[in-house]
């Protein structure tokens, strides 16, 4: 049967695994976006630039502080998360009561500024960042040669996504966050510091983006425009999954990575656009997204 499709089963499984790996980036990024939109009602267009900042921070840590990949995995999200907190305190907190579009415009402008500044100083060919020695090499799985690093990416992203989902949906802290989004005044009446929770939530979403950036640094070039191409696709993923749904973002991220991987095999010229075609179809059938709750 597979031969009729023009591809051997081994090659197909290889492509599916590649799709899953790409999906893990989509899942991590769309998770950050879904958390920010679900909790704060802000459409965070700066997400792509913050992903890029994460990768650049990893590069700087290695270049100027001699700190390797594992340090960067821990430090870069914290550092970029702090810049996220600053952005929230300076700009975003004034926009919560306004229409969504203001948040979108502000974050879009910030993204352009950040990317433009970096492009000015660092060119566009990309900076080198190598795979950490512990993760170099690969293993032959029989149907394909899997680089160890890519296997690590899938497993780690899955772990982070599930941990985030667990914290938000199943712990008390997550319950406070969800309550604060629905009815901030009432939650404040209980003595819970709502503005600080919101700030930290934005910082956490940004940290997730930076984490994805650090993980991308060894395999995709560390370049100023690495975020701008990706962010549009990630928004499509979030829309398909349902704007406020955490589990939706995770499942859709991995799922669309798989579908894009398959498209690259059978019709590679369309691999850029297949996610948007799916988004158009989903919006026609289920406007709130596959997992979204109709408001």
């Amino acid at each position: 049967m597979f031969e009729l499709l023009g591809i051997t089963p081994q090659a197909l499984f290889g492509q599916l695994l590649i799709g899953l790996i790409n999906g893990s980036f989509y899942a991590l990024l769309s998770l950050g976006l879904a958390v920010i939109f679900g909790m704060l009602n802000i459409i965070n267009f700066t997400h792509g630039a913050q992903y890029m900042l994460g990768a650049f921070t990893a590069f700087f840590l290695l270049e100027y502080a001699g700190l390797g990949y594992w340090w960067a995995l821990a430090l870069a999200p914290v550092l970029v998360g702090i810049t996220g907190v600053i952005i929230e305190r300076l700009f975003l907190q004034w926009l919560y009561k306004l229409d969504h579009l203001y948040g979108l415009l502000l974050t879009f402008g910030l993204a352009l500024i950040i990317e433009g500044t970096f492009r000015n100083f660092f060119g566009s060919s990309g900076l080198p960042y190598s795979v950490p020695p512990e993760l170099q090499g690969g293993r032959n799985l029989g149907f394909m040669f899997l680089p160890n690093y890519r296997g690590w990416v899938v497993l780690f992203s899955l772990a982070v996504c599930l941990a985030t989902w667990f914290v938000i949906e199943r712990t008390r802290l997550g319950a406070y966050l969800r309550a604060a989004t629905e009815n901030p005044t009432l939650v404040r009446a209980f003595g819970i510091n709502v503005p600080r929770m919101i700030t930290l939530t934005y910082g956490f979403g940004v940290a997730l983006a930076a984490l994805a950036g650090v993980m991308a640094a060894p395999i995709y070039s560390v370049s100023p425009q690495m975020g701008s191409g990706l962010i549009i696709v990630v928004f499509a993923v979030v829309v398909i999954g349902g704007m406020g749904s955490i589990m939706g973002a995770i499942v859709t991220g991995f799922g669309l990575g798989l579908i894009e991987g398959l498209t690259k095999v059978f019709f590679p010229e369309a691999s850029n656009t297949v996610i948007f075609i799916i988004m158009a179809i989903v919006l026609l059938i289920r406007p709130a997204g596959l997992f979204g709750r109709t408001a």
Binding site: I18, S125, P128
Partner: protein, 404 residues
């Protein structure tokens, strides 16, 4: 009455003084358009504007009484953006010559516009050999390199050393398709076989899926028919997937020195590539590179930058000889009539189909241990003489050639 007469005399005298050279509105305006923000920024970008400026200075335009102005613009690799810029430049800003324009889809669009408006188009950045083939015009000169020369250099060299089965990873637009077509022709002509190809969107970041397909094809050589950041990512990810360890080799069909710099010698060593110009080949080149890099944040010139310098120099010579810049066809005809000679490319000619002729060079990327400086990256493997480097005039299909 006396004052009126003297006024008339004064005005007439002033009128006569400016009738020496008929440049359109008195200025020779050069428009440098390329990718200033994306995939091809480092190999062209602001550096091309710097190269053009250096050419104007070295030509001594000011001393000859020629007023030259240079403007730059970003076409973002989009044909519609590039077309709009060129139309505005020619109609409103009175630009006389368009220079550089990498990204073959944009170059082909600009090619048409410049012909319709009878200006001059000097292509340094773009590659598609169609510009001197079916799409040739009397207003365009293709200066630095083209897909045929690359295929003939890199492709032939690799097939002759045993790489006789190929699989292409191609950027799915005019340039990639042209490069794939020309290289496939060279491979087949020299006794090789093309086992397949995959066309990836332009630009792309993740090549893992395409590399996997190339691996599955079991071709001895994987030809990368893409450029700039696409090539860099393909090569980086190929090393991740153990392609070279698995016994296949990578052929970077269009690689610039800025790409090798980004990859680093550790990954890029041994890569075979064809370029038209390299900074470390003689003293004149080295001196130019030093001066250029000081103005370009330490980044050394690519062959595209050198091509812009050479093209602008020859253009100014032709315009100076004609004492006018308004008629694009006349200027280009003059440029084809005069042999070229500049400090970077030496002596050469421009053919009837608009193809600039000079030798091409086959380079190999040095090992890290062999490199003695941050930009010391190539060793010369072979020189392809000028009369063999480019597609023969008769094979191009250029309408201008048949007429003569």
């Amino acid at each position: 009455m006396k004052s009126l007469l003297s006024l008339i005399a004064l005005v007439t005298a002033l009128g006569c003084a400016s009738a020496q050279a008929q440049y359109t509105d008195g200025i020779i305006k050069i428009g440098v358009m390329n990718d200033m923000s994306g995939t091809y920024k480092d190999l062209s970008g602001q550096g091309s504007v710097i190269a053009a400026r250096m050419a104007v200075e070295d030509f001594g335009a000011a001393a000859k009484g020629m007023k030259v102005e240079i403007v730059g613009a970003d076409h973002q690799n989009k044909p519609d953006v590039g077309s709009n810029v060129v139309r505005t430049w020619i109609d409103t800003d009175k630009v006389d010559v368009i220079v550089d324009v990498p990204t073959s889809s944009v170059a082909l669009a600009v090619n048409e516009i410049v012909r319709d408006k009878n200006k001059v188009f000097l292509v340094s950045g773009a590659a598609a050999s169609d510009l001197t083939g079916p799409q040739c015009t009397p207003n365009t000169i293709h200066w630095t390199y083209d897909t045929w020369a690359l295929a003939n250099g890199t492709g032939k060299a690799i097939v002759k050393t045993g790489g006789d089965t190929w699989f292409f990873i191609t950027a799915n637009y005019a340039f990639g398709l042209a490069l794939e077509r020309d290289t496939a022709a060279v491979v087949v002509k020299n006794g090789g076989k093309v086992l397949g190809q995959v066309r990836h969107p332009f630009p792309a970041t993740d090549f893992s899926s395409f590399l996997l397909q190339a691996q599955a094809s079991k071709a001895k050589v994987i030809g990368l028919a893409n450029a700039g950041a696409d090539t860099i990512n393909s090569i980086k990810q190929a090393s991740e997937f153990g392609i070279v360890q698995g016994g296949q080799s990578l052929a970077g069909l269009l690689v610039f020195i800025t790409d090798v710099k980004s990859l680093g010698l550790q990954i890029a060593q041994g890569l075979i590539l064809t370029e038209a110009w390299y900074w470390d080949m003689n003293d004149a080149n080295r001196e130019f590179a030093k001066k250029f890099s000081e103005q370009n944040s330490g980044i050394y010139p690519s062959m595209v930058h050198a091509g812009v310098y050479s093209a602008v120099t020859h253009y100014l010579k032709a315009v100076d000889a004609l004492k006018s810049d308004g008629d694009g066809k006349a200027v280009v005809a003059k440029m084809k009539e005069m042999p070229t000679n500049d400090k970077l490319f030496g002596q050469g000619t421009v053919r009837a189909d608009g193809r600039k002729i000079h030798p091409m060079y086959l380079f190999e990327v040095k090992k890290p241990s062999e490199s003695k400086g941050p930009w010391d990256m190539y060793k010369l493997r072979a020189t392809i003489p000028a009369d063999e480097a480019f597609r023969p005039l008769s094979e191009g299909g250029c309408p201008l050639v048949n007429k003569s």
